[in-house]
């Protein structure tokens, strides 16, 4: 380790006279320096977390929000159709195809949430990107006390790296695909003779998910 060199540098034979003493000092020095590294590490972890938590949250938020738009809309559409059927034909039961599709969409929603959670549990594809971000963050270490006195909400400090791109995470949602569910919804709209505009809206959603 480099501290050994620094001791040897001015040591030479002067210290040889008292080898035991040196050994003791040696150990103490080693111990103290190890402790310094450890203390630094603990401080670093805290500051690193402070500096990146919000950044990670913001990034994840956008990703998560993006991935549930289509399924959320589809659920809204099919729910509205279900209500409509209840009003139009109060004496008939809701068509089985409608109730069934709603359940499948809700299930798909759960699958998305679960797959996303799992995907972020082990975000392997983005590790190298993360390390790049770490370097970006470490550049300004002097002013890294984010969340401290210098960093009021909305100040530049945390935003500094907010446009750092991390690799997007990939996950596969089990079960039916959203395209299949959308297609199924379009079929129902046609079967029930509902307005064509609805099909157009679903087509838009479909092309957005491809």
């Amino acid at each position: 380790m480099s501290w050994v060199k620094s001791v040897q540098y001015s040591g030479e034979d002067v210290f040889d006279e008292d080898a035991d003493d040196i050994n003791l000092q040696d150990k103490e020095w080693k111990y103290n320096m190890k402790k310094r590294v450890k203390d630094g590490y603990v401080d670093g972890i805290d500051h690193g977390k402070e500096a990146s938590l919000q950044l990670g949250f913001n990034m994840g938020y956008r990703e998560g929000a993006e991935k549930t738009i289509a399924v959320g809309r589809l659920k809204g559409v099919i729910s509205a159709i279900q209500c409509w059927c209840q009003f139009q034909r109060p004496d008939n039961p809701i068509p089985a195809s409608v109730a069934d599709l709603l359940q499948r969409v809700v299930k798909h929603e759960d699958y998305i949430m679960e797959a996303m959670r799992m995907g972020l549990e082990n975000p392997m594809p983005s590790v190298s990107d993360v390390s790049e971000t770490m370097e970006d963050l470490a550049v300004g270490e002097g002013e890294m006390s984010c969340g401290g006195a210098g960093c009021s909400k909305g100040s530049g400090c945390c935003k500094k790296s907010s446009n750092v791109e991390l690799g997007s995470f990939f996950f596969t949602v089990p079960g039916e695909s959203l395209e299949q569910l959308l297609q199924c919804c379009m079929d129902i709209v046609s079967e029930l003779g509902l307005p064509l505009e609805l099909i157009q809206h679903l087509e838009q959603l479909k092309s957005a998910t491809e």
């Binding site: 938020y61 998560g64 809309r73 509205a80 972020l120």
Partner: protein, 141 residues
């Protein structure tokens, strides 16, 4: 002699700092990595839930708008007006931006508007809860 001991002293002080910085750097990198992963996970869950809810309202609103648009009676017009207002509110709402200042406030406005729409449509007020609870298996009619 005094110069030598000064050098030694400097070495010690600097080493002290250097080891702290060395540990700090390593810790900072690890902390950044952990913070990024934890933050991202929480963010994704929040973003997904909120976006799902807003999108649900939008899909619901746009469907009713399609279903009602050819009706000309006063009741339908009133309903359509409320639906337009709900859709407009959602379109203006940057719900995908976690740094948007009025995220919570605007979300409440959207929810309130949705409740108003439901009441105008005579849809039960617990409708959206029923839809949500469908996800956890508590499907009840």
């Amino acid at each position: 002699m005094s110069r030598e001991s000064d050098d030694l002293f400097d070495c010690i002080v600097m080493a002290d700092d250097r080891f702290h910085v060395e540990g700090y750097r390593e810790g900072f990198n690890e902390g950044t990595r952990q913070g990024m992963i934890d933050g991202r996970k929480h963010g994704a869950s929040h973003g997904a839930k909120l976006s799902m809810e807003v999108s649900f309202y939008y899909g619901f609103g746009i469907t009713w708008k399609c279903l009602l648009q050819n009706n000309v009676d006063a009741k339908a017009r009133k309903r359509l007006k409320a639906l337009e207002s709900l859709l407009g509110l959602i379109q203006k709402f940057p719900h995908k931006d976690p740094q948007f200042e009025n995220l919570q406030e605007d979300m409440e406005k959207v929810r309130a508007k949705f409740r108003q729409v439901c009441s105008l449509l005579n849809v039960p007020t617990d409708f959206s809860d029923y839809v949500k609870s469908g996800g956890s298996g508590g499907m009840s009619f």
